[in-house]
Every structure is written in structure tokens, then in C-alpha cells.
């Protein structure tokens, strides 16, 4: 089953104004949400906060209620070996499989280092990408495991 590797990432639009991040963090806190992976991507005067959390649906509704602009994005989480070259191993296997990493960021949620990856989906479905990743010998984290 490839769908168990589909991880729901929250992508939250965040204007570059003082206090925005604190406000977002407060919503996570108020909803007792545990964040397993998190990053802020920034462009010219605005950003997108990306987060993998344990209660995505509940917190999505909480953000919407506060008029935030947000969306679920399907990502995968790849285990990396905790030795020099761990990232290279992942990146080169993606390359060899013809998978384009649009962006990636590290997570501390499992016992081993994990890389959250958004695969460019212009010419491949998530299911097909998951199959290719597994076939390359890499280990993917199941959505259920991310939430611990």
C-alpha cells in the first residue's frame, strides 16, 4: 500500500509581518498540536510555513477559523542514515529514479534522521513516486509513525 506513506503537510500562507509566526505557533499550542517537522520558506515579502503535525485535520480547521489561507500538501518522509553521506545517499537515489525534489527539510520525529520531501508532481503521481522510492532501496516513514 503506497497510501500509508502519504503525509499531510500543512502549507500556511504567512505575510512577512512581525508577530505572524508567534500567532501561528499559538494556534498550534492552543490546539495541543505536536509538530514533528517544520520549516519556513520565504520569498519576497511573504512566506509559507510548512508543518507536519499529529492532528492535521483539527488544526487545519482551527487555522481556517482564524481566516488563515492554508492547504494540505502531500509529502513523503525518507529515513536517512546517521553517518556522513546520509543526505547524499537519499538525493542521489531520487536523482537516479528521475524524481525531482521541489523542496525538503529535516525532521526529528523518529529515532533516525528523516527528510520530509515534496516531490514535484508535474509529471508523476505520489503513488508512482512512492513506488520508485521504495524500489530504490530507501526507507519511507509511514504517516502513522510520523505522528508519534
Amino acid at each position: 500500500m503506497t497510501s500509508e506513506y502519504r503525509i499531510k503537510q500543512l502549507s500556511i500562507f504567512a505575510p512577512n509581518t512581525p508577530g505572524t509566526l508567534a500567532e501561528i505557533a499559538k494556534i498550534f499550542l492552543d490546539n495541543e498540536v505536536n509538530i514533528s517537522a517544520f520549516c519556513i520558506a520565504e520569498a519576497n515579502n511573504f512566506g509559507v510555513v510548512r508543518a507536519v503535525v499529529d492532528k492535521p485535520d483539527a488544526v487545519f480547521a482551527a487555522f481556517e477559523k482564524k481566516n488563515y489561507l492554508l492547504k494540505f500538501t502531500d509529502v513523503v518522509a525518507v529515513k536517512m542514515s546517521d553517518v556522513p553521506g546520509g543526505l547524499y545517499d537519499v538525493a542521489s537515489k531520487f536523482g537516479a529514479a528521475g524524481l525531482n525534489i521541489e523542496y525538503a527539510y529535516a525532521s526529528r520525529s523518529t529515532t533516525t534522521p528523516t527528510l520530509v520531501v515534496y516531490v514535484s508532481n508535474t509529471n508523476i503521481s505520489l503513488e508512482a513516486a512512492v513506488e520508485k522510492i521504495l524500489a530504490s532501496g530507501l526507507v519511507l516513514v509511514r504517516a502513522a509513525e510520523m505522528r508519534i
Binding site: 505575510p15 511573504f46 512566506g47 481566516n67
Partner: protein, 428 residues
């Protein structure tokens, strides 16, 4: 269908004779006003010198500032005992301009509104919701009496309390609404949120600010109505001076009541049909406050083609108001141009704001744009692409670079009444 077919379709010699007769009467009336006595003396002309319509060009222009100088009643051509109503125009600086009406003026004005509303399909028995300011602003009472005149049931809703406005449309079965286009947009959003059923609504009459074809399409689709542009100005009675017919291609201005000239705003030279310039209007049936060659400050042009509806020569929808015109780095910009660009980009939401600053002696234009909630992908790269796309489209139209800031839907101010989308923060 016509309200006054003879006058609405009058043309050629018959029209010119009527215009000349009324122009002479108007010139005579202006001689009761100190300002015009002085103007004629200084220009070396006498009222009798106006023998043909072409002689109009001998008369100097009257400007908005001249009227302000006459505050409050310096431009009255009749004794106060004949005044039946007073309105004022919102002055952005200092005192407002007072406009006054005799009984005949009020009658002429509502006649014009009756023509307009009949032209777009309103009939006796229709219900007309006037979501317009009823106080000193001419939009409220002007439309009110015109709609009553054709036999509509008028709902004098006034401005604000949008939910209540929507409930009335729904519960009363309102057929037509009049308001500003930006308020119509706000009403649409709220109605959609309320899942209101506005099926009875057929006609929207929108005026008092410039609005684009895209905004029209948007309002027509979302409210399932026909939306018509209304033009007017308090100094020329108020709304109803010019109005779109069902062709929705330019506005019929009532030539039996107004002589229209288009001039080069810099040189004052009169321009031919098809050329864009400032509209100068000489009203022909105003008693209390006759005006000659009044500079409206509105940029439009006389259209060359006849209209299939049979009425007279049209003016184009406004390109902008010279008061609204911004000069940024020496380039003339109209907020309506910005709106037009943004409305053509689907990922852009409903509202925008323009800020002009001076940074290191250079003008900087910043435009805050709401994102369309339904087209947000969650991807930073898509947003960056959108930001670029907006910047490029604006640059193409305005020949000016602008900083585009993307903001969340619902975060920019909504306007009830005249939208103030431009904030000029430059200090000189």
C-alpha cells in the same frame, strides 16, 4: 422601451434648435450670477453674442474651484424663495460645494432618472432597492424620486448593514439595486457567505466611481443580473446625466439637457469624436444653478458609432477622474487601470490597495493584492510566480514598476460608499 421617446431620440436640426434655444436661456440665467457677469465682462462678450451653438466656444470654462469660491450660495441664479432642495458635494479639501434645485430642477432631474431606469428595463411594479447614501449625497434622493416616477416600489435602504440589505432583497423579492460598484462587490461576497437566494434580482445600476468591464462580468455572473453604468455629478443635478443602454457599450448622455465637449485638459482645445480628453458639460435645463462649459475632470470621449437602440451620441465609459489621477514618476496612473489588470488575473482576489511613497526622492508604488482563496496551491513557488505575473502585467499597462505584496483574503479594507483604494503617503 422609452420613457420620453421624442426627447431621447431627438437629433439633427431639431436637436440643435432646441439646444440653441436652451443655451440662450441658460446664458441669460447666468447673468443673475456675479461670477458670470464678471466672466463675460472680462472676456469681452455679451449674452447676445451667443447666436449659434458654435458661439459656445467664446465662453471661458467654469472650474470646480470657481464653485467652491462661491460657497455657499454665490452661484444661485434665482432668489432663495424659489429653492426647493439643497445638496452638497463632498469636498476633499475645505468646504463642500453647495448645489441647489428649484421645483423644475427636481422635476427635470427625476425625468432623466426615469429615462435611464426605463432604458435598462425597469417598469411600473418593479421593486427597486436604493442602497445609496440618502443624506447630502445626490445618489440617494436622485434615484429615489426617479424610480418612484416610473412607478417602482422603492426600498430606501441607504448604505450599510449589508446582511439586512441582502435579507430585504430576498424577502421582498427586489428586482433592481442601485449602489456603488465596490459596495455591490461587498454585498456579493456577503450574500455568497450567507448562501442567500437573490433570484428576483435582474438589474444592477452602479455608479459614483469608476469600475471595469471585468468587474461588470464578475458582478453579472455572481449576482445573475445585468449591470449598468450610471454617470452623474452633483453640479449637473446628480446621477442620471449619462447612462448605459442594454447594448452596454458606452453611455447615452441626454443631449436635450446637456451640451458635451471633450477638451485637451492642458490646452483647452476642443477634440473631435473618438479622442480621449476631459469632458466639459453645459447643462441646458438647470434653473437654480446654471453653469457654462463646466469642467467635469472626467476623462472620456464622444463615440463615433450610432447606437442600435436609436438614442443619441454616446460617451465612452470613464477612463478615470482627473482628481483620481496619480502622477507617479511623471507617469499618469488611474486606479481603474490597476483594477483592470488585477481583475484579469484569476489567482487575484477581490480587493487591492495602492500606496504611493517617496523614497530617496523617488516615487514608489506598492500594491497590496488579496490572493484568491480558491486558487491557493500552498506552494511558495506558485505564489512567487503569481507575484511576478502581477508585477509584469502592471508594468505592461502602466509602464511603471510596482512592488506587489500578496496578502490573505479578507485582510484588506472593504468600502461601503466610495472606495478609497489609493493612499498617497508622499510628502513634498
Amino acid at each position: 422601451m422609452f420613457w420620453n421617446e421624442k426627447m431621447e431620440t431627438l437629433r439633427g436640426k431639431e436637436l440643435q434648435e432646441l439646444q440653441l434655444k436652451r443655451l440662450k436661456e441658460t446664458v441669460a440665467r447666468t447673468q443673475n450670477i456675479g461670477f458670470y457677469q464678471k466672466m463675460f465682462a472680462e472676456a469681452g462678450i455679451r449674452p447676445e453674442d451667443i447666436k449659434t451653438l458654435d458661439d459656445l466656444s467664446k465662453i471661458p470654462f467654469t472650474k470646480k474651484a470657481d464653485l467652491r469660491g462661491g460657497y455657499p450660495f454665490g452661484f444661485l441664479a434665482v432668489p432663495m424663495s424659489r429653492i426647493n432642495r439643497i445638496h452638497t458635494t463632498s469636498g476633499t479639501t475645505g468646504k463642500p460645494t453647495v448645489v441647489a434645485y428649484t421645483k423644475n430642477d427636481l422635476n427635470s432631474w427625476s425625468e432623466l432618472i426615469a429615462r435611464n431606469l426605463t432604458m435598462v428595463g425597469l417598469r411600473e411594479g418593479d421593486m427597486f432597492q436604493n442602497a445609496s447614501n440618502y443624506s447630502l449625497f445626490t445618489g440617494g434622493l436622485g434615484f429615489h424620486y426617479g424610480a418612484e416616477r416610473i412607478g417602482c416600489a422603492v426600498v430606501p435602504a441607504g448604505v450599510g448593514n449589508t446582511k439586512r440589505q441582502i435579507e430585504m432583497i430576498q424577502d421582498f423579492g427586489v428586482n433592481a439595486i442601485h449602489c456603488t460598484p465596490s459596495y455591490a462587490m461587498h454585498l456579493t461576497e456577503v450574500a455568497e457567505d450567507m448562501h442567500a437566494n437573490l433570484d428576483s434580482l435582474r438589474i444592477g445600476v452602479f455608479g459614483a466611481e469608476a469600475w471595469s468591464e471585468n468587474m461588470r462580468r464578475d458582478l453579472e455572473n455572481r449576482l445573475n443580473i445585468k449591470a449598468y453604468d450610471s454617470y452623474g455629478m452633483s453640479e449637473l443635478f446628480g446621477p442620471g446625466v449619462a447612462f448605459e443602454c442594454p447594448e452596454q457599450d458606452g453611455l447615452h448622455i441626454w443631449h436635450d439637457c446637456y451640451i458635451v465637449e471633450i477638451i485637451d485638459p492642458k490646452t483647452g482645445e476642443v477634440l473631435p469624436a473618438g479622442e480621449k480628453g476631459e469632458m466639459v458639460v453645459t447643462p441646458l435645463v438647470k434653473e437654480a444653478m446654471p453653469l457654462l462649459r463646466y469642467r467635469t475632470g472626467d476623462i472620456t470621449m464622444l463615440m463615433e458609432d450610432d447606437c442600435p437602440c436609436g438614442r443619441g451620441q454616446k460617451i465612452a465609459r470613464l477612463f478615470g477622474r482627473s482628481d483620481d489621477m496619480l502622477t507617479v514618476r511623471g507617469i499618469n496612473v488611474f486606479p481603474s487601470q490597476i483594477e483592470h489588470v488585477l481583475k484579469n488575473i484569476p489567482e487575484v482576489g477581490d480587493q487591492f490597495m495602492v500606496y504611493i511613497d517617496r523614497v530617496n526622492h523617488l516615487d514608489e508604488m506598492t500594491i497590496d493584492v488579496e490572493i484568491n482563496k480558491h486558487l491557493f496551491s500552498g506552494e511558495l513557488s506558485d505564489l512567487a510566480r503569481l507575484q511576478n505575473k502581477i508585477g509584469k502585467a502592471l508594468h505592461e499597462t502602466l509602464t511603471l514598476r510596482a512592488n506587489v505584496q500578496l496578502v490573505e483574503p479578507g485582510s484588506l479594507p472593504r468600502f461601503e460608499g466610495k472606495a478609497k483604494r489609493v493612499v498617497d503617503r508622499r510628502t513634498i
